[in-house]
């Protein structure tokens, strides 16, 4: 798999591909062993390369400069058929779906407990430690083979409630307050930030799912619903704390943001007809310049590299998400016995 950066140009070079940058050959890519090519941002390929990719059946994915999915070179989706068939069949099996949901909820709760425990120790706040223990017990309970899917969902909800009850102690900037999680629409700047970043993160997972070739609309934990990318909603859970909450809290606690960076409205009519109506009636939202800066900051954040526990190569956070979705795909195909959510505690 090759991810090409902005300004790169691919040309045919014998039986290989030559990667050009600033008029110079940067790398020769052996087409024989190339399974997937991901073109990011403003990269270009020649017509000859296009034909080679089609002939060699290399899965070619186009992403925008921010890493969002734009499209795929549709050759013949013979690989996807197998993947999707496995996804539909296995996730339709209630036992398999329950096992999958358990893993997903377990991963989410483990992340929340770990985060509260870390911060509780750093800040010397015992109540955070107690909440971490509560959530950890819930995680164990969710993994209990005796509980059914409804209980798993209930445990996930209650664990999240306990987590957000501890969240105010994580906000260390006196200019901001957090009185509980609210959304659709968020009522205060912290909730607005969380919602915004969760949305970005969900689209990251959605992109990864599309790159891998799975159907984003069928999941295990989240029910099938019209227009809801349930699988993306499932697989984003394990990243919320590690990628979104830590990012939002860093911005708030480092006083990078101030309450003046938000627009406040007094909304009396709280009946929202549709998404557009909801957007127009948000009681609090970031100023346009703040959104722009946040997106830039988020980009820098997602481009950070860490060494995953089971690999030698340092990956960006975006790369980690893609790796996890690939792991999920192998799990669906039966290559892995269980799906293990992102093991945060093993990342150095």
């Amino acid at each position: 798999m090759y991810v090409l950066e902005n300004g790169s140009y691919l040309r045919k070079s014998g039986g290989n591909l030559a990667l050009f940058r600033d008029g110079r050959v940067e790398e020769e890519i052996d087409l024989e062993h190339l399974e997937q090519l991901i073109l990011v941002g403003y990269t270009s390929i020649s017509g000859a390369v296009l034909r080679m990719l089609i002939r060699s059946r290399v899965e070619t994915v186009l992403l925008n400069p921010r890493g969002g999915f734009e499209g795929r070179l549709s050759v013949d989706e013979h690989k996807h058929v197998g993947r999707r068939k496995a996804q539909y069949l296995r996730l339709s099996d209630p036992g398999f779906a329950l096992e999958t949901a358990r893993s997903i909820v377990g991963g989410k709760l483990r992340g929340q407990a770990r985060f509260l425990a870390l911060r509780g120790k750093q800040l010397g706040v015992d109540s955070l430690l107690a909440r971490a223990a509560t959530i950890r017990a819930m995680e164990r309970s969710a993994l209990d083979p005796a509980v059914d899917l409804d209980i798993v969902r209930g445990i996930e909800g209650q664990g999240t409630r306990v987590y957000y009850e501890g969240f105010p102690r994580l906000v260390r900037n006196p200019a901001f307050t957090f009185k509980g999680r609210n959304r659709r629409p968020p009522l205060d700047p912290v909730n607005a930030l969380l919602s915004f970043v969760y949305t970005l993160l969900t689209s990251e997972v959605l992109t990864a799912i599309k790159i891998v070739g799975l159907d984003p609309y069928l999941g295990a934990l989240h029910l099938e619903d019209y227009g809801r990318p349930s699988l993306a909603c499932d697989l984003v859970e394990e990243w919320r704390v590690f990628l979104a909450d830590r990012f939002v809290l860093a911005l708030i606690n480092r006083s990078v943001l101030s309450p003046d960076d938000f627009v406040y409205r007094k909304i009396e009519d709280t009946d929202f007809v549709d998404e557009e109506d909801l957007k127009g009636k948000r009681p609090v939202e970031m100023k346009p310049a703040t959104s722009r800066a946040l997106l830039k900051s988020y980009e820098k954040w997602m481009e950070q590299r860490v060494k995953p526990p089971d690999g030698d190569q340092r990956l960006t956070y975006r790369g980690l998400i893609l790796e996890q979705v690939r792991r999920f795909e192998r799990y669906l195909l039966g290559e892995l016995k269980a799906y293990q959510p992102f093991p945060w505690s093993q990342v150095g």
Binding site: L118, A133, R136, M138, R140, S141, R292
Partner: protein, 542 residues
């Protein structure tokens, strides 16, 4: 008959703990009757009747309900009663670690190892106690940039202030060759300024406010129509460039004694805008008069540029909005050229805007006549670098002030512009005749790209005759300005008469043109000598 057997006493049914656990779990995860759940979980005597797995479940439920003490005591009891039950030790240790009781956890681990040989030996998976990566430092950068942009836009809007309720948008139809402005009837906002700076839109401001006061004044220097295109522009290009540099420097110099501090800007169109800012809006009329006086003092020195003062009106009349001026930076919609603050264009608009942080406010309190050909600098606030230059080379400063053509050359040299043959000849044949001619010429030509000290010395050694006269200088430079008037006994006027005290005393007094045959022959001989020196080179190249 056998007496009827006594009915065996009815044993109470064994409690269904699984049902209890299920109910408790349901109540806890639904967040219902939590206090009641806690009350039940505190009944520790039940533990005696539970098997190890059920004890573990009891402890988990207590943990879920927030009863950490109960959970710890349950696990403690479990480990005491069933020391071989490994999960009990594990969960107890983990709970203590989570609660920040590291020492107790370590002691418990030792006890567990005593009870279960090899306990924990296979827990090889490293658990990091850090955040797991993530450098937060650089996340600030985009926000720092945002704050900087906001600060610069606020400064921009504070300086370039026009009418409060209206501004103008420039439009251009390049195919039809038409352009103009349409009023936008609302206050200009930071988002508009941002669009303007990015070149997406081009806006102008109506300088007169509704109360007929002005916070920003402008002198507009436009290239005269005749020189804007075609052969005239090509022919006079070097003269125009020279005059540009001179104009920019002189507007600022002349403005200073009047407390009018100009910020020069290339407008992206026909010329330059010189912006004057006022901390508090001032009446239009005195501002207009002050700027007109400044422009008037400079106008006689200019050949290629016309000067106009904005605002042109004293007050608003009728429905009119008064004159408008395009805002600086951004793109000129007609020419497509970017506007920039002088002296040089910066690739980054935000870097360009930083110039504004040092922009000075003007006042209308002091009204000394501007320095011109006849003025003298009194009470002038001079930049330290400029002051140093004046102190070192008063002769050059005098010439700069009094003789516009020479002033243009001096300014061009100071700006490091390349000199043409004519321009160099003029400099040598004027400045070279001053007492400190050598020093001055070296100082002047040093910033010029082709500066060669040996060649300067050589050219100076070849200097003969008299200083170049005003008429000749004007002809050589192609300027159409009025000549200076001197009360001089000399047969012809030359710029050094502005600074007689620095002229060499034994300067031969000779007329500018050849007056007799002997002189003509001498002139011819010198010219032939000069040509002869180049002949071998000419032969070689041919």
């Amino acid at each position: 008959m056998k007496p009827p057997a006594e009915a065996a006493p009815k044993r109470p049914a064994a409690p269904d703990f699984e049902l209890l656990f299920s109910r408790l779990r349901s109540f806890i995860i639904e967040n219902r009757e939590i206090e009641k759940c806690r009350e039940i979980l505190r009944k520790m005597d039940v533990l005696q009747r539970l098997n190890p797995e059920q004890c573990l479940e009891w402890s988990r439920l207590a943990q879920m309900a927030g009863e950490m003490d109960v959970a710890c005591r349950t696990l403690g009891d479990l480990n005491r009663r069933h020391p071989a039950f490994e999960p009990g030790w594990r969960e107890h240790i983990e709970l203590l670690v989570l609660l920040g009781k590291g020492a107790e956890a370590a002691a418990l681990r030792a006890r567990a190892q005593g009870a279960i040989p090899g306990f924990g030996q296979h827990d090889a998976q490293p658990v990091h106690t850090g955040d797991g990566g993530g450098d937060f430092q650089f996340l600030d950068e985009p926000f720092a940039a945002m704050k900087r942009e906001e600060r610069l836009i606020a400064r921009y809007m504070a300086l370039f202030q026009g009418r409060e309720d209206c501004f103008a948008r420039q439009w251009a139809d390049r195919n039809a060759g038409t352009s103009g402005y349409v009023p936008v009837r609302r206050a200009i906002e930071p988002a508009d300024v941002r669009d303007h700076l990015r070149g997406l839109k081009t806006y102008g401001i109506y300088l007169l406010r509704r109360d007929s006061r002005v916070a920003t004044g402008v002198i507009d220097a436009d290239l005269k129509q005749a020189y804007r295109t075609g052969a005239a522009l090509a022919k006079e290009r070097s003269g125009i460039q020279r005059e540009c540099a001179y104009l920019v420097e002189r507007v600022q110099e002349l403005g200073k004694p009047m407390n009018l501090f100009a910020l020069p800007e290339f407008s992206g169109g026909k010329g330059y805008h010189f912006w004057f800012f006022f901390e508090e809006p001032v009446p239009a009329r005195p501002l207009k008069e002050a700027l007109a006086a400044l422009a008037g003092a400079l106008r006689p020195d200019l050949t290629f540029f016309d000067l106009e003062v904005f605002p042109k009106q004293d007050q608003l009349a009728g429905k009119g909005l008064g004159n408008l001026v395009k805002l600086p930076l951004g793109l000129h919609r007609v020419t497509g050229k970017p506007s920039y603050f002088l002296p040089k264009r910066s690739g980054d608009v935000w870097q360009a805007l930083e110039v504004l942080e040092g922009a000075a406010y003007s006042t209308l309190e002091k009204k000394d006549p501007p320095l011109g050909k006849t003025g003298s600098g009194g009470g002038v606030l001079i930049h330290p670098r400029q002051g140093e230059w004046i102190a070192r080379f008063p002769e050059l400063h005098r010439l700069l002030e009094r003789c516009p053509p020479l002033g243009q050359l001096i300014t061009a040299c100071r700006n490091g512009k390349a000199m043409g043959v004519r321009e160099e000849k003029i400099l040598f044949a004027t400045v070279g005749f001053l007492k400190r001619g050598k020093t001055l010429l070296h100082a002047l030509l040093q910033p010029v790209p082709e500066y060669n000290p040996h060649l300067v010395d050589y050219k100076l050694s070849r200097l003969r005759g008299t200083p170049l006269g005003c008429r000749k200088i004007h002809t050589l430079l192609g300027v159409a300005l009025d000549f200076c008037r001197f009360d001089s006994p000399l047969p012809y006027a030359h710029p050094l008469l502005h600074c007689r005290e620095w002229m060499t005393e034994d300067l031969p007094v000779a007329a500018e043109r050849v007056e007799n045959l002997a002189d003509a022959l001498e002139h011819l001989r010198r010219s032939l000598d000069l040509v002869t020196r180049f002949l071998p080179a000419v032969r070689e190249t041919s």
